[in-house]
């Protein structure tokens, strides 16, 4: 067994960390949050230059064909810096294209930093169940007409293209009858309402009113999109798990540092045993979480779909639990400082909280873990 990163991966992580420190400091980040766009072209250019955008893209499209472990490295660093650019949305979108084997041109543009994607999957009623789809795709000649609306689409208004799940047949909660499309974000009939999220990100509500797409927009078999949707959502979960690890490392380090420097009653507060034990718990939570993020990153490539689902859900569960504990305790141990918006710790806590609500919360994934056939029989 080998848990070490390759030399290339380590170098990549170092380069990314230096970039975050130099070009994506807390002040710069704050300005981006407050800007009208909510994202930074300069930062996007920086990510492209570093190769972060080309990494997941296949070699044929000018990328490096990076593995999920490579992505783990990137997401951890972006988490550490609480980078709010639409990287996660774009890379998850790219995975749809990669798996579908279509739209090589878009993948090429992603690698070059020219295109951003967003994933319009969730709906008003769907909560964490991505198969719960009311948006319709009706056949129209060679192509389709899309109608419906999607909600809380991360970076939905900053994206050039949208990956959209729609129902081409079946009842609202069937896994059969789902089709996946790539749609130009500015296509006639698409309207997007951009807003901020609590963690400083952007999201959008998007509606599709008689949006005409050609046959080439289809990313899955007609009615057969669920397997693809489920697989890419799992990929998205592994990215979020990795991001969480980076945030947890940073927030734990900041808290440890605070315990060593903050003086009350004439001693650093880290001298109080109750806080020492709390810090020890945080450390253990983080290590357990890190193991699960690693496991998920390895198993995401598994051809055994049940194994993939089981592991990814287990990772989201364990990391969700760790993130909640670590986030809340980091704030608590910072005392009054922890509840102000002025410290990175506060923003890390908020991001950990929103990740929990993204692509399935702890209960959702616990239920999914239980639902895998192996749960009852596994020895």
């Amino acid at each position: 067994m080998d848990f070490n990163l390759t030399q290339e991966q380590t170098q990549f992580a170092d380069a990314l960390r230096r970039w975050v420190e130099k070009d994506y400091g807390f002040e710069q980040r704050k300005q981006i949050i407050e800007s009208a766009e909510g994202i930074s072209d300069k930062a996007w250019g920086g990510l492209a230059e570093l190769g972060a955008l080309a990494l997941p893209v296949p070699e044929e499209q000018g990328g490096f064909n990076g593995s999920a472990i490579d992505m783990l490295v990137i997401m951890q660093e972006l988490g550490r810096g609480i980078v709010i650019e639409p990287y996660f949305a774009t890379v998850m979108g790219a995975e749809f294209l990669k798996k579908s084997g279509k739209h090589a041109d878009v993948l090429e543009q992603i690698a070059g930093g020219e295109v951003k994607l967003a994933n319009a999957l969730g709906e008003r009623q769907s909560r964490h169940e991505l198969f719960d789809i009311a948006t319709t795709a009706s056949k129209n000649g060679d192509g389709f007409v899309l109608n419906g609306s999607k909600t809380v689409v991360l970076h939905g208004a900053q994206a050039d293209k949208l990956i959209v799940s729609a129902r081409s047949s079946g009842a609202q909660r069937d896994t059969n009858g789902i089709s996946l499309f790539i749609v130009d974000a500015n296509a006639v009939g698409v309207s997007r309402r951009d807003y901020r999220t609590i963690d400083g990100y952007r999201a959008a509500d998007i509606s599709f009113s008689n949006v005409q797409v050609g046959a080439d927009a289809l990313l899955s078999a007609v009615d057969g999109g669920w397997e693809l949707l489920d697989a890419v959502a799992d990929y998205g979960v592994t990215l979020l798990c990795a991001e969480s690890i980076g945030i947890m490392e940073a927030i734990t380090a900041a808290t440890l540092d605070y315990l060593k420097t903050r003086q009350q009653f004439g001693v650093p507060i880290g001298k109080f045993q109750v806080l020492q034990h709390r810090m020890a718990e945080m450390f253990m939570e983080m290590e357990q979480a890190r193991s699960m993020a690693t496991l998920a990153a390895v198993k995401i490539a598994s051809d055994d779909v049940e194994e993939r689902r089981r592991t990814v859900s287990a990772a989201k569960v364990r990391i969700g639990q760790a993130a909640k504990y670590i986030g809340q305790q980091a704030v608590q141990l910072h005392g009054g400082m922890g509840v102000t918006n002025e410290l990175p710790v506060a923003h890390m806590f908020k991001r950990l909280t929103t990740i929990e609500l993204t692509l399935g919360d702890t209960d959702h994934h616990l239920a999914r873990f239980v639902a895998q056939p192996g749960f009852k029989s596994a020895a």
Binding site: V152, R196, T197, F349
Partner: protein, 396 residues
Amino acid sequence: MDLNYTAEDLAFRDQVRTYLEANLPQDLQQKVLNHKRLSREDFVRWHKILAKQGWVATGWPAEYGGTGWTATQRHIFEEECARAGTPAILPFGVNMVAPVIMAFGNQAQKDYYLPRILSCEDWWCQGYSEPGSGSDLASLKTRAERDGDHYIVNGQKTWTTLAQHADMIFCLVRTDTGVRKQEGISFLLIDMKTPGITVRPIIMLDEEHEVNEVFFDNVKVPVENLIGEENKGWTYAKYLLGHERTNIAAVGRAKRELQFLKRIAAKHQKNGLPLIDDAVYASKVASLEVELMALEITVLRVISQDSGRPGPEASLLKIKGTEIQQRLTELMVEAVGPYGLPFDPAFLEGATEHSIVGDDDAAPLAPYYFNFRKTSIYGGSNEIQKNIITQMILGL
């Protein structure tokens, strides 16, 4: 043993309920019930309505204009207010500085300040904490030096809740540096309009302006604004801490929020069914409800033993109360799933009628959750409360 209210208690409750139904303005009620942000005007308006009825100072003796209610009546009143969704009566004047003025102030101070507190003419804030002195309050450094018939105050306070609205601040200041740290502290009342005072906002996790830093640069305070004796401030401060005992657990509000939680859990769906019908989620809500039931009875037990002196059991009520409130907000955010993400300050401030994504119940919940992390930190952190329990009750 009888765990029911007496007939008189019940009659009192009906009287309060009827009054609140008739006098609580609907717009204020809606703001509170819907977790919106309250303005200075909102607080003052409700304070003045209650003042007209003589119900602002539920803990004061009748001779100063208080209600003279029993501890049980106060509890019932607080519970009814919470149930109805009234704004809070801010504690800084009524429940913090007033008892100190009553117990240790001179006649002139009582005559001047107490009526103004009752009528909300003065908005008070609390100047205890400093950047270097939080849990270890006695280490505070803000200095007050005697200069004829004035004190000259220099230093900095922090975390001062709603100081941006305040007319007056009560401060702990150091008047003697040569003695044990608890023995050189005095209790000063300072007019916020005095030259040399600067208030700088601190923005909280939920991006609300709720606390401030307050800077004192050669601020001249008349000697008659000293409470009691010089260097005896720590005694007065200790008297004040935990003075307001019954409502510290906020059981009434937690009961209301539990109903709210169940309502949104019935509205939001999981797997095509109401979330509240999901066994896993329901069990979390049920555990919390059981914990709240226990706390309510603990509060009532504490009240029934009330000798009028605040005791260390207030710490237990604070810890359990804040844990329950924080868990409630956690489950609220969980209930709304992805709708916890959108952030809509205009809606929270009441500038727009509906939230951006249209789920008006959900929109304030993540900010509410983040805001409530403060409750286990302020007023003596929960760790400090546990230290009090281990030392004062358990003798460890």
